[in-house]
Symmetry: C2
Subunit: 307 residues, 2 copies
């Protein structure tokens, strides 16, 4: 039987990463993974030593692996978990339990924002009652609002999210298939802080394949929630991920190339810069967060619309 050999030691390789021209054994993979994330952090100047990082932890493999790695790399982290109020198969309760167990095991601290307890309704009820917002977009809006609030209140230097290369490539494909100029100009490993109350956002796993994050979680014994969000089955991004994996099978490293050559082309000035007037933010009269809309921010308008 053919056995892959570890590129570093010649031992039995357990992961094959053609996009990095590496096959690694268990030991070298566990060594390589945090280094690789550290290089991504450094390459995109995500944050400095001593910065306090707020890690958005859902309880899934990506965010828990990210948290583990940041901790291991010596960064100062605290977690924030948003309990979305998704009752189906106790999805939200179980997600939170995974975060709790992980934090306890690793001696990490985190806070929970329970959407229903804090604001009166969970995300499914919110998305159901308010028209014009589909579940995923309402959920995204709620999460962004809460993360910005927590980061501002806690004076964190940045919010780190677990978006991996597959996530980023799928979003890029979606934006490319529709040639959405604004999104194509904006998508990046780092979204800079544009307002004191709109935090800097960083994606340290953006150059790491989903499969490799899963492998890392597995070999490190990270116990994450394996169930997908019950509302995600119809999500477009899953379809685009499938397409990208088909491309990847046909031509290994395609996902990485697609994302990385995009970043490079952008850096080299492919897209024309838009000379916008400086954005003038209003302050939401209800929550105090900045908004480009009128008196109320989109988040508060969402709640206003509730019966």
């Amino acid at each position: 039987m053919y056995q892959m050999k570890c590129t570093k030691c010649g031992g039995v390789a357990v992961v094959n990463m053609p996009q990095h021209r590496l096959k690694l054994c268990n030991e070298h993979f566990v060594e390589w993974f945090p280094d690789h994330v550290a290089r991504t952090i450094h390459r995109h100047d995500m944050f400095q030593e001593g910065d306090r990082i707020l890690v958005a932890v859902s309880g899934g493999k990506d965010s828990l692996a990210l948290w583990a790695v940041l901790q291991q790399l010596g960064h100062i982290t605290e977690g924030v978990h948003i309990h979305l109020g998704i009752d189906h198969e106790s999805y939200s309760d179980r997600s939170q339990e995974h975060v709790e167990a992980f934090a306890e095991k690793h001696g990490l601290s985190f806070q929970v924002v329970n959407v229903a307890e804090t604001y009166g309704h969970g995300v499914p009820a919110l998305a159901k009652t308010t028209r014009g917002h589909r579940m995923c977009s309402a959920c995204g809006l709620v999460k962004r609002h809460i993360m910005n609030r927590i980061a501002y209140e806690g004076e964190y230097a940045a919010i780190a999210t677990g978006h991996n290369c597959d996530d980023e490539a799928a979003i890029l494909m979606q934006n490319t298939l529709h040639w959405q100029a604004d999104y194509l100009r904006r998508q990046a490993p780092v979204l800079p802080q544009v307002h004191p109350r709109l935090a800097r956002k960083v994606k340290p796993l953006c150059r790491t394949y989903e499969r490799d994050v899963a492998a890392y979680a597995l070999v490190c014994g990270i116990d994450y929630i394996q169930q997908e969000c019950p509302f995600s089955a119809k999500a477009q991004t899953l379809f685009y991920k499938e397409i990208l994996n088909k491309l990847e099978r046909h031509s290994p490293a395609t996902k990485q190339r697609f994302y990385v050559t995009y970043l490079k082309a952008k850096e080299e000035g492919l897209f024309a810069e838009v000379t916008k007037e400086d954005r003038v933010y209003n302050t939401c009269s209800r929550c105090g967060q900045p908004t480009l809309a009128g008196d109320l921010c989109s988040f508060c308008r969402l709640w206003e619309a509730m019966p």
Copy 2:
């Protein structure tokens, strides 16, 4: 059994074109198709009444359908067929026969350039002996060179090729997956004349799905060569077409949206303009065509390299 109804007359529809929000019966499809091509010609200002158009005819469905439609629309056309010297299953001979039969049936005139007779070797021999050129790129180079020459010698206003929407979307996908800035800036329904000896190129079928071109060829009784080029099986574009058709099945009109929103985004200034110095062309010392390379153009260098 469910029968589609013609959007125009309520009769039995034979084609369904969700990208145009149309289902059409045989009669209305035959009426609609040339109109649709005429709108594309007009929209992109491809050529004017009275212009002499050189149609590049391979003998396949796209180029023959294009030729038929241009003729029907009253444009002045002449064909050029390039016999590539592909012997496998007499592919090139049979292609030429299809062109001959079509031209005779429709009273159209055309000329043949036989690569082997004119230059000493067919394209397969050329591509095989010269390194660094794969078959399809060598073939493309040869065809471009010959078409430019014929268009210049015959003083045609433009060369029309049969590239359909699937072709354009596949090339766009290829360019996007690698974020090839030059190609992304350049791809267009019209490539303007940049030098007296480098002809204007137009693609009147660029907004028409391949399937609909095939349907048109079928209902009009156009007898085209159905065999694909024996070297195209491995062509990347076929794989990208397959991917795009998968996207299309998942979300109808995706191919068109991908291509058309790209054109729109480009028109609206998504890409930064490159301030290049004016291109200074050398004149190839062998063939007299302009070249950005040194003494010999790429075409002549290809032949120079032959033993």
